[in-house]
Symmetry: C2
């Protein structure tokens, strides 16, 4: 009878710009942000995120950083976790920031 729950996350008013920028200042987490930009919920499986080259525990670590920075929210449903972007919260706290970041569409192919 497990109702859906959300993993702990900072309140909207507590979102800190420097923390958010530090969270996004990593190529893996930026890639996750782009995956989440569609507004949908995503599982944590690295293969669903174009991160086959990373261990699942590494991806879990990055998703924790994003959640604790307030970038994402995680809904727990059974043995799955569904991660999605806190778009309205971010837009409230940092108007225009998310749009500017996503518009900058980082697609660097080294």
């Amino acid at each position: 009878m497990t109702e859906d729950e959300r993993l702990p996350q900072p309140a909207t008013a507590d979102l800190d710009l420097v923390t958010v920028l530090a969270a996004l200042g990593d190529p893996v987490r930026m890639r996750l942000l782009l995956s989440y930009a569609d507004g949908a919920e995503h599982s944590c499986d690295p293969r669903n995120l174009g991160l086959d080259h990373l261990h699942k525990s590494t991806v879990s670590h990055h998703m924790r950083v994003l959640r604790e920075a307030g970038v994402t929210t995680t809904r727990v449903a059974g043995r799955n976790r569904f991660v999605s972007l806190r778009r309205t919260d971010l837009d409230t706290r940092f108007p225009g920031l998310l749009d500017a970041l996503l518009a900058a569409a980082p697609l660097p192919a080294p």
Copy 2:
């Protein structure tokens, strides 16, 4: 009679979003950004930047990170270096980002 020169910096087209975010994901460098937001040139003296608590070599390090990320430009004039924001370059490469950052950033110290 040394003519003014600029320290090496990345070209506008080479600015990388993740690198910029990583550069700004530090409280000291965010404070520097806010100081530079007035568009003026600033010396490197920590006392002119509200950073009395930091050693000058530490401030020099942070300014190098900002410059190498493409956030700032440094003009060399004699024994002084004048640092300023690459506002138009950043606006070209990442439209709206700087405005969103400055609008959301913590209040600048008087």
